[in-house]
């Protein structure tokens, strides 16, 4: 039997959406969405770097890290009520996270739809011969795994150190203590180490990629893109891994606590006097 073949060529797999008003229409296209992904990535990257640098206060001692935390809460108190600005930043970060994840998911879906194998029997692999990736590196191919790992880790991290779900020794407002209590457990330290490796891998491809997505491209920058990506990923990796390692080897330890365990820093100040 003869096959009926349409001579008009393949139908589009995606309808061009009805254009929303500017700038929302940017998000309607894949390229625009990648642009949004890159911008939200930059916001998140800024957060990760700042968070890591801020955490270095741990090495100064419990009081200093406490004061740093207080400073964050007090940001902008000259003008607006306490913690409002911090909440503002948190909301911005939540929004960036949400949009970063949404764009990643929908772009991946679009790729999946464009990628169906025609009438192949076995599995959903694109080619039967194992496709020999040449350029796509480990980082770029694992974005969709490192991404969810980071998301899960984020919840764990919040639950562990911000909400104190896992330990009765957790105390509101005593980050030093909470870190020591949490990461003192070798298993938890391992989670932190694995998650931060995933984070660094994610940042490596993400940083390189954002130059591409935003179209920041000139012969001068191009040579540096990999170095910038590797440098940033390396910096975050070293910085963030140092905390669980420092706790595990005892560099950050309850012994360094000048205040008795369980007291807030303020109470400790008072106790001293």
């Amino acid at each position: 039997m003869a096959q009926t073949v349409t001579r008009k060529g393949p139908e589009p797999i995606r309808k061009k959406p009805k254009q929303l008003p500017f700038p929302l229409n940017i998000y309607q296209s894949a390229i625009g969405r990648k642009w949004v992904m890159a911008v939200s990535g930059i916001v998140l990257l800024g957060f990760v770097v700042t968070h890591m640098i801020g955490n270095l206060h741990l090495y100064e001692g419990p009081l200093e890290i406490h004061e740093y935390a207080e400073t964050l809460r007090n940001l902008g108190t000259d003008i607006i009520p306490r913690t409002w600005l911090l909440w503002g930043v948190r909301l911005l970060l939540i929004a960036a996270f949400a949009i970063h994840i949404h764009s990643a998911y929908t772009l991946k879906e679009m790729g999946r739809k464009a990628n169906t194998r025609a009438n192949f029997a076995d599995g959903n692999k694109k080619y039967a011969a194992s496709q020999d990736f040449i350029a796509a590196n480990y980082a770029s191919r694992t974005m969709r795994w490192t991404g969810p790992i980071i998301l899960l880790y984020l919840f764990f991290h919040l639950a562990d150190l911000t909400w104190g779900w896992f330990s009765k020794d957790w105390h509101l407002g005593d980050p030093y203590n909470n870190v020591v209590v949490s990461m003192g457990n070798i298993g938890v330290a391992a989670i932190y180490i694995i998650a931060n490796i995933a984070l660094a891998v994610h940042i490596f491809h993400g940083t390189w990629s954002l130059f591409q997505s935003l179209g920041i491209n000139s012969p001068k920058i191009n040579k540096m893109r990999r170095h910038i990506a590797a440098g940033l990923a390396g910096l975050i990796l070293v910085g963030n891994l140092s905390f669980p390692i420092a706790v595990t080897v005892g560099l950050i330890d309850q012994d360094n606590c000048e205040a008795p365990c369980g007291l807030t820093a303020v109470e400790a100040e008072e106790a001293k006097e």
Binding site: A30, G32, N115, A118, A121, Y127, G215
Partner: protein, 257 residues
């Protein structure tokens, strides 16, 4: 003849777009290392016809790496193992005696298989149709030397224009994106002074047509590696920038900038 090779070919056979396909295994001998990959298929097809079997449909035309008709996945690589080389320019000396070679058609939802190793790449034409031109009706062009084009811009435009439209970038892409093809075509014209008047509308139209058919680029860079003309990834970055700009430009109806 001395030095000939014996090979095992696993070739995708599929009767039509809607039929189920399967791999067929063929043994072939007396293959000279100086033969091209497609000439090896010519030999296979002659053997098949002599044995009363239908030959394998495999597309090719110029066989000198410029028309872009040929192309298949050879051992999981678009256009095979040699870099910057289209299937027709690949020679058998790149393989070893006794090798098994797996040959598959390009795969993408918008590249349906017509038969065996031949796919329909017409969505690429749809992208060009949507804006891959400079509107200059015959006879209306000014003198060729009226607008000087900086040599660097002309060279860069040529690097983009070298694309042969074979579709390897789509085939190699884990997302079946046609971003390298589209970007090369967009930037060839966007980089030249002649192409400025339609720059923003062209970028918008072509990108959006591309997205009707193909997946989204995730910056792996596989397309560049597969490309027989080694089109640089830079053009993708330029197009990304031009596209987001075009959304603003087109709203303001400004042709400039």
């Amino acid at each position: 003849m001395e030095n000939t090779m014996t090979l095992t070919l696993k070739v995708w056979r599929q009767k039509g777009p809607l039929e189920n396909g399967r791999f067929e295994t063929y043994e072939i001998d007396q293959i000279s290392p100086d033969m091209s990959f497609l000439e090896m298929f010519d030999v296979l097809n002659e053997n098949l016809i002599n044995n009363g079997e239908e030959p394998v449909e495999i597309a090719s035309d110029c066989r000198e790496g410029i028309c872009g008709t040929c192309g298949c996945m050879i051992n999981g690589k678009a256009h095979g193992p040699e870099k910057a080389t289209a299937t027709c320019q690949l020679h058998m000396r790149k393989f070893k005696d006794g090798d098994t070679i797996i040959v598959e058609p390009w795969q993408a939802t918008s590249f349906p298989i017509i038969k065996d190793l031949v796919v329909d790449r017409s969505p690429l034409d749809r992208i060009i149709e949507s804006g891959g031109f400079i509107t200059v009706p015959t006879g209306s062009a000014p003198d060729a030397n009226l607008i000087p084009v900086p040599k660097d811009a002309a060279d860069s435009a040529f690097d983009a224009a070298a694309c042969i439209g074979c579709g390897a970038c789509v085939a190699a892409c884990p997302n079946s994106a046609a971003q390298l093809f589209t970007s090369a075509k967009v930037q060839h014209l966007n980089l030249l002074p002649q192409g400025q008047a339609e720059r923003w509308s062209r970028t918008e139209e072509m990108v959006e047509k591309m997205e009707e058919y193909f997946g989204s680029c995730t910056n792996h860079g596989e397309c560049h590696e597969a490309c027989p003309k080694e089109i640089p990834l830079d053009f993708i970055a330029y197009t990304n920038r031009d596209y987001v700009k075009s959304k603003r430009k087109n709203r303001n109806l400004l042709g400039q900038g």
